[in-house]
Symmetry: C2
Subunit: 676 residues, 2 copies
């Protein structure tokens, strides 16, 4: 029994940290791929945090009041898996041995939802840090809402490990500036300052005074401390915790690949050490166990299950006290954290729908979106709105919206400033924390800036709503930098997003309803700047909006041509169909506000809407056209935007780019002439 | 003659500035849209810079050694148009009167190429500032290359106006950190600090210590100065110019909407003042001319034509001296600035092609790309390479690459750090400056972060090359955050980009050749991490690669099925075709590395490659599938990625996601069974 003789009864901090190091080495060697440098470098930081400060219960990774931990430099995934394994999460050694293999719970980069205890999917540098700002914001807002003098339902920290790369990325600037303004004292970032990135020693591309930068944001900056000295780290973390009003950055000086012959070089960053170096590292770390064997004494030293159980039990006592004295508060807290809609959900929507039916008028879909929000925001306290400095234009600010107040923690609206990417990442953090449905708006052209955050939303399956307005050349005079062309295609090509481009008040209301009911898929709304007509629909049609595509205007008998359109172009399609009808043609108009949902309908429904027999199809959308070949095929035609837009009054642009009844009629007649 | 009595012979600085203000007011009122707040607020800054410091020649906006001016807060476009008009550029008053109208040279946001004197298209906040860093870098590199003790061919400043929004955006962090490291002393930013953004007074979302932040980046920070005091601004600019080693940020405290009743509020930001407020502003500014009338004395005070002519003449003397004493230097300088390929261009490519033919082996396309660069970099000094901290992985660093040295200004390679967006914006700046063909690499999944910079590249029609590697689930273990799915669709949907996804050494070499010959359209290369087989082609086929799509493997007679593929999936298509042939079917394989170029071929060629008669078509690409309906229509099929990837060895992923010969064969047989 090697480990019996080796392991002391009371392992040192370093020995505990070395257990992480060895698991990282073993798993990466076995996988023949991975990133050893960072876990080896940050193992002592992890030990100091997780063994001395981190509040969690390995038996319940969903405990609402647990501390959150975000590994922003996600390539250090083995550090996190080792921590979860050692502290007692349901992550057995077999999973560590299966690192980066098909079907394992230990993928190359941490994936939330897959691995118990992983709070966020990370990998794209900087975004973990940025989303942690959202988590800490969520904690602050919920604490202000649910804590009373007698009990605290919400009182936890958000911890981040990040590296140099995270701080180079622009999103770190956007989010951290806000964290300072918001006085998020319970956000504590341990910065793994090792002076090395993939291209080598970083001074030629990263030499900013990080301390001064974060002080400028209003943070408490601590250190530099020796990132391999558990006691020094402990003191620094205590100091960080001591400041309730400022987020803290603890600068930890570390050696990448600590304990190996490749330490302090980029060579240990992104590939296995190799057999020889791995063996030498075991020697250097005074580790004498076979691969994937952890001495019992170390397991014991790491085991957080008892303490975690006690922590959660204490919290449950508070929750019980709340249930006793403030039952309505407890019920609301549990509803919010479960992500359930309020009890009067159906009433709410009945009222909204009846309001839509009554008003029944031409309106910009961004304006209808705002009207829906005016009704929803006072009724759904979980809605946290915001905008990247375009509140008035995108209609996200309602009468019931109050800006988050850093002093009181009150508010349901975030002024994100001109920070689209940070806004997206922070919304992800709010959604990950639980208790919130974030929504926020910007111009659709600037969805570009937020794109990778939107991608992570989809990958994590979070519920939140993007309000992308000014969704075409309808923007007019602001010109091509502000007119989206390719963004619809980009968002539709991204898996697990529902993109809605509604054509009128009714479709906009339905889009919002389904957005809030879509628990696992984020929704992007594509909304017009300009007024769009209102369409009267029968009950069947209204019900069909939720199918993503439906017949808005039909002809008698089998159609000779089908016009497919979304959003602002639907009215053009309807006008063209009327003209065609006047000329004796049978024309159908299909409104297709959400292609993803349409694609998910059964084959019979889809064939009913788009019958095989009619291949004469014309799609109209003021965006990149190729996507629509999916529905019109080789025999149809698409009227779209194959170039960038231009600056001029919108009417002139519609005309120039061919979005007129006359031009579309020509296209339709050409198709009808050539039909097979 | 109102203005004769009004205008003094020697207008004051303020009166000169007011000419800008009035033109902005008049143009925006007439257009009934636009952004008056910023031009009114920055008019004194513009007066101080353009009348006291700015080196330019209105008669020659292309003068290589002119100062560059970037209006990063591009919504202040009328400020720039007023400056160009007043100083004597070819921008008559009729264009000012046509502000934001169809076909005018005065679009809503400045567009380079359209308006003489506009050095960059701006609008998306922060990017002008970031690209200006690239321009200043270009100046530094060219100065180091072409200046001698006897003459200076390159010696100019890069000036930026930016607002609060620009500094909130993450890209400002990425680019400005690098500007500090690079010691770009001739980059001078005048920051319009007016405390207002669209959502109101900014303190709740922007209260960082900007001075400390930029000092942390290694900048000289000057001010705050009164942004309405021309003499104070003059002194600050002089101080900025005095520091040769640090870029300068001049903090200018201004009043947005200066001179109007809406000053210091967001109300004057984004819409016309309105008739009443406009009239009041004329009073307040002591301006008594009719709209669009500028007194002669003011024109005279602004006129920069004489001075500009003299400045350029002086420079031409230096160039003449260079031609005399160092003719080879002058020739090279002029070639570089003209963007012409070197004289031995065709020899270079003959050698590369013969090298490809000789080696003719399986290789990752990223590796072939590097090999091509190994040959090109020493021969094309205009190539400036770089990577967002992935040099080894993306193959951008060659034996002839030397990192830019801030002290000497030497070097042809940029270590951008982990800053994809900043890298894109800086490449745009290098390309805009002239004298360079930038190229840089990152993983394709992270093209997301740079997306809006790529969009601006395309919109501006710049020549540069993105090297996007690791372009599919072939990434393997790093998992879904690192595996692109929707990025190909997003880039293809963006107008005016050529996207190449080559399948082997030959196609990769051709892609690079056409990339460098594509003067007005940027190129994105989509390259594999993994090895791909080499295909032998006849001369016709080799020539056809440049057509973007061609028959790589044909059958005898009319094909019964056409397999279309790109990049790493081409070899699968070839294998499937062979299997089909073995089963008695006639199968053709079309390699389609650049769909944009294929689409531009004449109809006969396209029909020859994809004959109408064969609608049985199967497209294979490990990315979002819908795009391919464009070529396979409703009767074909697409094997693509409809979900995110996963973490596992690549072979396992190819199998799981259906990219196997067996699965594709099944798909092909199913199509053949159902064909019409």
């Amino acid at each position: 029994m090697l480990h019996a003789t080796f392991a002391p009864a009371h392992p040192t901090h370093r020995q505990c940290a070395n257990a992480i190091r060895i698991l990282a080495i073993d798993a990466i060697e076995k996988a023949k791929s991975g990133h050893p440098g960072a876990p080896l470098g940050m193992a002592d930081m992890a030990e100091a945090l997780w063994r001395r400060h981190f509040r969690h219960n390995p038996a319940n990774p969903a405990w609402p009041d647990r501390d959150r931990f975000v590994l922003s430099n996600g390539h250090a995934s083995m550090l996190l898996y080792a921590l979860l394994h050692l502290t007692g999460y349901d992550l057995p050694m077999s999973e560590i041995e299966n690192f980066r293999q098909w079907g394992s719970k230990t993928p190359g980069h941490p994936e939330t939802g897959l691995t118990p205890g992983v709070n966020m999917t990370t990998g794209p540098l900087g975004q973990g840090l940025a989303s942690a700002v959202g988590m800490a914001l969520g904690e602050r807002m919920l604490a202000a809402r649910f804590n009373t003098r007698d009990f605290k339902l919400v009182d936890h920290h958000t911890w981040v490990f990040c590296g140099d790369g995270c701080l180079m990325e622009g999103v770190s600037h956007e989010a951290c500036a806000l964290a300072g303004i918001w006085k998020l004292g319970k956000l504590i970032v341990l910065y793994d300052s090792n002076g090395i990135s993939i291209d080598g020693p970083i001074a030629p591309w990263y030499n900013e005074d990080v301390c001064a930068r974060f002080t400028a944001y209003g943070w408490q900056v601590i250190g530099p401390v020796d990132g391999h000295d558990s006691d020094a780290l402990d003191r620094a973390i205590l100091e960080a915790r001591g400041d309730a009003d400022r987020p803290s950055l603890v600068v930890c000086r570390t050696h990448i690949g600590f304990g190996t012959s490749k330490a302090d070089t980029e060579k240990c960053h992104g590939s296995p050490l190799g057999e020889e170096a791995a063996r030498a590292a075991r020697e250097a770390l005074d580790w004498h166990e076979p691969p994937f064997v952890i001495p019992d004494a170390l397991y014991k030293a790491w085991d957080a299950r008892e303490a975690g159980k006690a922590l959660e039990a204490e919290w449950k006592t508070a929750l019980a006290a709340c249930r006793q004295s403030r039952p309505e508060l407890a019920v609301e807290f549990e509803r919010r954290m479960a992500g359930d809609v309020p009890d009067d959900w159906h009433d709410i929507w009945r009222n909204i729908c009846s309001e839509v039916k009554t008003s029944a008028q031409a309106a910009a879909t961004r304006a209808t979106s705002q009207k829906v929000l005016e009704y929803l925001v006072p009724r759904l306290p979980e809605l946290v709105g915001g905008s990247a400095d375009l509140s008035g234009s995108v209609g996200t600010l309602t009468a019931a919206s109050t800006r988050f107040d850093p002093t009181s923690g009150q508010g349901n609206y975030i002024s994100y400033g001109v920070r689209e990417f940070g806004m997206g990442a922070i919304m992800n953090g709010l959604a990950l924390h639980g208790g919130f449905i974030p929504y926020a708006g910007t111009f659709m052209a600037f969805s570009d800036q937020a794109k990778n955050a939107v991608r992570l939303t989809a990958l994590m399956g979070l519920r939140l709503v993007w309000v992308f307005t000014h969704d075409s050349i309808g923007v007019g005079e602001d010109g091509p930098t502000h007119q989206p062309v390719e963004q619809l295609a980009a968002l539709r090509a991204t898996p697990d997003i529902l993109l809605w481009r509604p054509c009128d008040m009714t479709e906009t209301a339905v889009a919002w309803k389904l957005a809030l009911e879509s628990r696992r898929r984020p929704v992007c709304l594509s909304l017009s700047r300009q007024n769009l007509p209102f369409y009267t629909r029968n009950d069947d049609q209204i019900a069909s909006v939720a199918r993503g595509g439906y017949v808005l205007r039909d002809c008698a008998g089998v159609p000779q041509i089908i016009l497919i359109a979304t959003g602002s172009e639907v009215s053009l399609a309807v006008d063209v169909a009327e003209r065609l009808e006047g000329m004796g043609y049978r024309a159908r108009v299909v409104s297709m506000p959400c292609t993803e949902l349409f694609d998910e309908q059964d084959a019979a429904y889809k064939k009913n809407v788009l019958p095989d027999a009619c291949r004469t199809r014309l799609a109209v959308e003021a965006a990149a056209p190729d996507f629509w070949r999916k529905y019109v095929g080789l025999d149809g035609a698409v009227c779209g935007m194959s170039s960038f837009g231009a600056s001029a009054p919108a009417a002139r642009l519609w005309e120039h780019f061919g979005f007129t009844v006359e031009h579309l009629l020509d296209m339709a007649l050409e198709l009808l002439k050539n039909r097979k």
